[in-house]
């Protein structure tokens, strides 16, 4: 329905998830304002931004929820990812643990979020590692070329400058490993840098292309949401902040 009128923007609710300080806010800032700031505040609760993205046949307007990464904000996340059509799960390629956290998010999204949610896995801070292991082409198009680089990481001396050497050591998550995981879990995959802007636009464009627009209903049915809220007095099912529970029901609208 909505795709028949390419002039009118289609709204897409997108949520960013991932460990603290992996660069979620920075990616959003880069995407929305083309800017990078070394010192951003940590996100409290969540921040909200919008950005339009032009495809051949339509304009997509992203409504982006950039969430807080610290573990204790986890219980707030459902409030932001409910009804989301897309999610960008970010990890920091210089921190192995952040990929683990990303995997946990993916798992949660696949169980609790919209059934048709499009998830992109993004390894950020690519600028911190030298280019030996990342392919020059956007990783999205590179299906599996990085396989052998993982082993070759033992001889980092291949890069000339010592500064580069150091940053080469910074990589803790190999492209191959993350990509294999993404493939197996059915995720889009990118390595990007909010600092340089490398690959950032691609993430969102690719997501826009992947979203099955014909299944997006313009607005969630209000009867259900009214139901959810009116629970304030009977105490049942009014999970305002922790409402993972209703996701299953919501998924049914598609």
């Amino acid at each position: 329905m909505s795709e028949e009128t390419p002039v009118k923007a289609v709204q897409v609710k997108l949520v960013l998830l991932g460990e603290a300080a992996v660069g979620k806010s920075s990616l959003v800032l880069r995407f929305c304002q083309g800017d990078f700031n070394e010192n951003t505040s940590p996100t409290i609760g969540a921040a909200f931004l919008t950005q339009k993205c032009r495809l051949e046949n339509r304009i997509v307007k992203f409504e982006i929820w950039d969430t807080a990464g610290q573990e204790r904000f986890h219980s707030l996340a459902p409030m932001y990812y409910r009804n989301a059509q897309a999610a960008v799960v970010v990890y920091d390629i210089t921190k192995a643990a952040s990929l683990e956290k990303a995997k946990a998010w993916v798992k949660e999204l696949q169980r609790q979020a919209n059934a048709n949610i499009v998830i992109a896995l993004v390894g950020n801070k690519l600028d911190l590692v030298s280019d030996t292991s990342s392919t020059p082409a956007p990783p999205a198009s590179a299906e599996s070329p990085a396989e052998d680089e993982e082993d070759s990481s033992e001889e980092p001396s291949s890069t000339p400058s010592p500064a580069e050497n150091e940053s080469d050591d910074a990589r803790q998550v190999s492209t191959a490993e993350a990509e294999a995981y993404a493939k197996e879990s059915g995720l889009l995959f990118f390595e990007a840098s909010a600092k340089t802007g490398h690959n950032v636009g691609e993430i969102f464009t690719e997501i826009a292309k992947t979203i099955p627009f014909d299944t997006i209903s313009p607005k969630p049915t209000t009867s259900q949401s009214a139901n959810r809220r009116s629970g304030a007095n009977n105490g049942e099912n009014n999970n305002v902040n922790l409402g993972e529970g209703q996701q299953a029901k919501k998924g049914g609208c598609c």
Partner: protein, 1044 residues
């Protein structure tokens, strides 16, 4: 994965605690000395103690008057050692909290008959007259308690003198009025209404430049924030800093300062126009009461830093990540100095309160505090914020934040129903915008100079201010909010409102004075005028109502997360995993699992609500909840039928089943077998895998794991000792089975094991055949003999194959391993779903009655009573539920008598009484119910009345709130006076500030509810009254200062 254990130990605050909270008085005044661990001991259960003797609290009616002040107020005087607090009847006009260590002298005044009056002289030379208007004996009793409390403060008094210079107000009042006004060295500053500032204007450049009052870098030794060095936010001239400072100075001269500050009506007005920057830090700590903690714990901050120097933790890592992201726009936080201060305060607090650690948003709050406060001041204010003002906001499960968001939504629902309905209809949650407001005290939401004015009010008046401001924001934007159709519009609307909060609220108004009113001023007026119906009590009541819902949600959430994060769930279904989780969680929370730490140390350390050893840090440095073996016993007792003692007691009244946790080596063996990584504790994952193995086992697998459980060195052989231990384990499992057959089977098992064992054992393990004495062999007999035999008992003896053979040789044992053992692990619902709501409900109407019986103590008492009656009537009987068979009624089991030899005499006695008359049971059980009803009635009635009263109160309040909203009158601020050209320093007079002040005065209605007429006359007379005769002379001994 750490679990929210603390939610179940939550309890509502007592009246005494609430009073202390109201007066910002710490629950414990002093911390252990510097040699002790520098933690504040949170002894909520105990009354305040000083040394050995216990100091009592007491309330009394009183009238307060202060020398030099017209107003006289009637109200309530509370002695909360070591503080004396007063609140006027209207609960807002006059309020004070005076530490007893600032009182130099107390005298009883010689006055008219029937009037009991005390005169207090404070450190700062104020004279306060307190007329105790209760009955004379009550007043005398109060005076005695006050005297005792005062005496206990002698040591603290000595610390006052060195402490005071850390406060700016001391510097302000001791320094000449204007820092540069050389010619003003006289005592002018003691006079009121001097015009020194104006004169000072044309003296040195220094004065010219420092509009924020005397002081600044290098002057005075008062504790100061980064602002003194890097500049305070905002334009000092525009903020009329100098006038504000002057007004405060005048206020201090009459109403006391810092520790002895009294809150009289002008205080509220000065507060709401924004505190002057240089005084702000001190007033924050005075208003919030954190200064009392700083006073009482002079060493703590330094010690926390030095003792934890170089340590790192998950919190310190998280802090490090956020340092560069804390108000980066403020200059100081672009320097190492500023960041180092921020780091130190956050790190010190994370060690001070390891349970809380560090929460994002604290970096922003503390970065804000440090602009106006020293590290130590900020540290203690942080303590008060996390502990009292914003309880649970920053804890790992953030239950306080979630709760207050729900409270906020509910208040929006009440006060702004249209907005609420609209948001429901477009499915937008208010908390998506409001959550950060609360969490960062608006510091991250609006320009700093305005946010800090909100912080001023929060610290002075409590958390209700956050709600009032939030409601006002929504109300002011009401029309636009009704146009909102999704989250995005809502957020953007709020963002642009806050961005223009310094702009004129009425830009097109013809009257320039109206044009000068900013959005922010309007916000405050709406907040404090229209939403003053939102009181502390409203918030408390709403929190109480909603807490259980939130707690259940958090528990369910963490359950889902914990279950989801399991790497391996074996063959269990999701529901079964859920049940395992419930048992795991309830075992941790159960009192039987007990606090495992407090051995020897009677005083639990901070963070005592959770048990340190149960929380471990996993490989990634994350906190993880694990159970120790004591908790495991509780856990397994809920699942394995043989791991608990179920005693069915029949007494004269009722039949009941008591469950106890059984204690046997077998259970510990299971624990260690499941502890695959030898951690000494089990994570949920370990327990799931352990259960998976035993619950899915068939005959062979069961035999195998049971064998392995007893093969300590895992060499594939049981030693002779282990064979005996294994038999004992079997006997333990069978201990309550009726009849002799299991006993016989185990006996036969031992005999066979030795027989086959000798044949198959590896060379050298067998020295001597065990003689067989016929069929009457018992387990203990076998053991005795095997002990007496000379053979080594610790050599490999019986392997799995042989063991299997022995087991299969016996039909009963085969059956046991094939079915019963596996079936003895049962996953039953715990009934813990909605634990909190279930428990809360019991406080309700019928529940009040239930509660009386259901609290464990009462239940036990009742049971003991019933047992006693039963015994007296000869109708008391007990029997143990067997672990394997379905509940077999003892009377139906034919061969019960045969086992009597195994029973203890007490049990035997009971056994004969089993033949009870069932009619007697049913008859008398109704009696039980009746008797509980009578017990319950009085309390029940009271609680009903309470509920009703509260209900009425609330509904009235709601009505009032709605009315207030419906007829929103013109803002008093519309009538605001002249707004002078702010460019000229000369033109800046306190009148301008007072204009703003007037607006609030009007907005707040008549707040001069002081006493009039005769009563006032009495109070005035007292000012002139002499102390009681015999105590007149001046006394130097501080012990004698108390003349009562």
């Amino acid at each position: 994965m750490s679990l929210p254990l603390h939610l179940r130990s939550y309890r509502e605050k007592s009246k005494d605690e609430l009073t202390r909270d109201f007066f910002n008085v710490p629950l414990q005044a002093s911390l252990p000395g510097p040699s002790d661990p520098p933690f504040v001991v949170k002894m909520r259960e105990r009354p305040y103690r000083s040394g050995q003797e216990e100091l009592q609290s007491m309330d009394i009616n009183a009238v307060i008057s202060v020398e030099g002040k017209e107003e006289v107020y009637a109200g309530r005087l509370s002695l909360l050692p070591p503080f004396l607090c007063f609140i006027s009847l209207d609960r807002k006009s006059c309020r004070c909290t005076i530490p007893l260590y600032t009182i130099r002298r107390v005298e009883r005044l010689n006055s008219r008959a029937g009037v009991f009056a005390l005169s207090l002289a404070t450190w700062h030379g104020m004279r306060i007259i307190l007329q105790l208007t209760s009955l004379l004996p009550t007043a005398e009793h109060f005076a005695i308690l006050l005297r005792d409390a005062l005496k206990s403060q002698l040591a603290a008094m000595k610390q006052l003198k060195p402490f005071l210079p850390s406060l700016y107000s001391e510097y302000l009042l001791s320094s000449p009025v204007s820092s540069a006004a050389g010619q003003q060295q006289t005592n002018d500053h003691l006079l009121l209404g001097t015009e020194l500032n104006e004169k000072a204007g044309n003296v040195g450049t220094e004065a010219e430049s420092d509009l924020r009052g005397p002081g600044g870098e290098g002057k005075g030794i008062y504790q100061r924030g980064l602002g003194e060095q890097f500049g305070f936010p905002g334009d000092a001239r525009k903020m009329r800093e100098r006038s504000k400072m002057k007004l405060w100075r005048e206020y201090f001269m009459i109403h006391g300062r810092n520790l002895t500050l009294l809150r009289y009506p002008p205080f509220q007005r000065l507060l709401q126009v924004g505190l002057p920057s240089r005084l702000r830090g001190e007033l924050w700590e005075v208003m919030s009461g954190s200064v009392y903690l700083r006073f009482a714990n002079p060493e703590t901050y330094g010690l926390l830093l030095s003792q934890n120097a170089g340590k790192s933790s998950q919190s310190t890592d998280e802090i490090e990540k956020d340092l560069n992201r804390s108000l980066p726009e403020y200059k100081a936080y672009q320097t190492e100095e500023g960041l180092a201060r921020l780091r130190r305060v956050l790190v010190a607090y994370s060690f001070r309160n390891p349970e809380l650690g560090y929460c994002q948003a604290l970096n922003i709050v503390v970065a804000g505090l440090l602009i106006y406060m020293s590290e130590e001041q900020a540290f203690w204010l942080l303590e008060v914020l996390c502990d009292r003002i914003l309880p649970g906001y920053y804890s790992p499960s953030m239950e306080g934040t979630l709760l207050d968001q729900r409270v906020f939504e509910s208040l929006v629902h009440r006060c702004l129903p249209m907005i609420q309905e609209h948001f429901v209809s477009v499915d937008v949650q208010i908390s998506v915008a409001s959550l950060p407001w609360f969490l960062s005290l608006y510091i991250n939401s609006m320009p700093l100079i305005f946010a800090f004015r909100i912080v001023d009010c929060v610290l002075a008046m409590g958390v209700k201010v956050l709600f009032q401001i939030g409601l006002a924001v929504l109300k002011i934007n009401g029309e636009a909010l009704l146009e909102v159709t999704d989250d995005g519009m809502f957020i953007n609307l709020m963002r642009s409102y806050f961005a223009t909060i310094g702009d004129s609220a009425h830009p097109d108004h013809p009257d320039p004075r109206v044009r000068a009113i900013t959005n922010f001023q309007e916000l405050l007026v709406v907040a404090f005028r229209e939403f003053n119906v939102i009181t502390d009590e409203t918030i408390t009541a709403e929190r109480k109502r909603l807490r259980a819902i939130i707690s259940d949600e958090i528990e369910k959430f963490s359950k889902r997360a914990a279950v989801r994060n399991l790497k391996n769930i074996g063959k269990f279904s999701k529901d079964q995993i859920g049940i395992i989780y419930d048992h795991y969680f309830s075992a941790i929370c159960s009192p039987e699992a007990g606090p495992s730490t407090y051995s020897g140390n009677a005083q639990p350390l901070s963070g005592d609500q959770f048990d340190q050893p149960r929380i471990q840090v996993d490989a990634q440095g994350r906190v993880e909840t694990r159970i120790d073996h004591r908790t495991f016993r509780v856990f397994i007792s809920q699942i394995a039928t043989w791991a608990r003692e179920e005693t069915v007691t029949t007494n004269a009244f009722i039949q009941r089943t008591d469950r106890r946790v059984a204690d046997h080596e077998l259970i510990d063996r299971l624990f260690f077998a499941w502890d695959s990584q030898d951690q000494g504790t089990l994570a949920l994952q370990d327990v799931v895998l352990g259960l998976n193995r035993v619950m899915t086992a068939g005959l062979m697998e069961s035999i195998e794991w049971f064998f392995e459980l007893h093969d300590k060195d895992k060499d594939g052989f049981l030693t002779k000792d282990e064979v005996i231990q294994l038999s004992e384990s079997l006997l333990f499992i069978f201990r309550n089975e009726p009849g002799d057959i299991y006993l016989a089977a185990v006996s036969k098992f031992i005999l066979n094991a030795y027989e086959f064992g000798d044949a198959t054992a590896p060379e050298g393990s067998v020295d001597e055949r065990i003689p067989i004495d016929g069929d009457k062999e018992t387990a203990s007999g076998a053991r005795e003999r095997s002990n007496s035999s000379a053979g080594p008992h610790n050599l490999p003896y019986l392997n799995l194959a042989t063991f299997r053979m022995v087991v299969l040789a016996d039909e009963l044992l085969e059956n046991f391993f094939a079915n019963d053992l596996t079936a003895s692990f049962q996953l039953e619902q715990t009934g813990d779903e909605d634990y909190h709501q279930a428990h809360q409900r019991s406080e309700g109407l019928l529940g009040g009655l239930m509660n009386l019986v259901v609290t464990n103590e009462n239940k036990n008492r009742l049971n003991r009573l019933a047992d006693g009656f039963g015994a007296a009537l000869g109708k008391h009987a007990e029997w143990r539920k067997p672990a394997l068979s379905k509940t077999i009624e003892p009377s139906t089991s034919g061969d019960l008598r045969a086992r009597e030899s195994l029973l203890t005499p007490a049990q035997q006695a009971g056994q004969f009484q089993r033949q009870r008359s069932s009619s007697a049971v049913s008859q008398t059980s109704t009696k039980t119910v009746e008797s509980t009803t009578t017990v319950g009635t009085p309390d029940e009635k009271r609680s009903l009345a309470d509920v009703e009263a509260r209900y009425r109160e609330e509904s009235q309040m709601v009505k009032a709130a709605q009315e207030a909203v419906m007829h929103r009158p013109n803002f008093a601020i519309d009538a605001i006076g002249d707004s002078d050209d702010e460019e000229g320093a000369e033109g800046e007079g306190e009148e301008d500030v007072m204009d703003e002040v007037e607006a609030f005065l009007k907005a707040h209605g008549d707040d001069d509810s002081g006493l009039k007429g005769e009563q006032k006359k009495v109070a005035e007379d007292l000012l002139k009254a002499e102390p009681m005769g015999r105590y007149q002379g001046k006394k130097k001994e501080s012990a004698d200062l108390v003349d009562l």
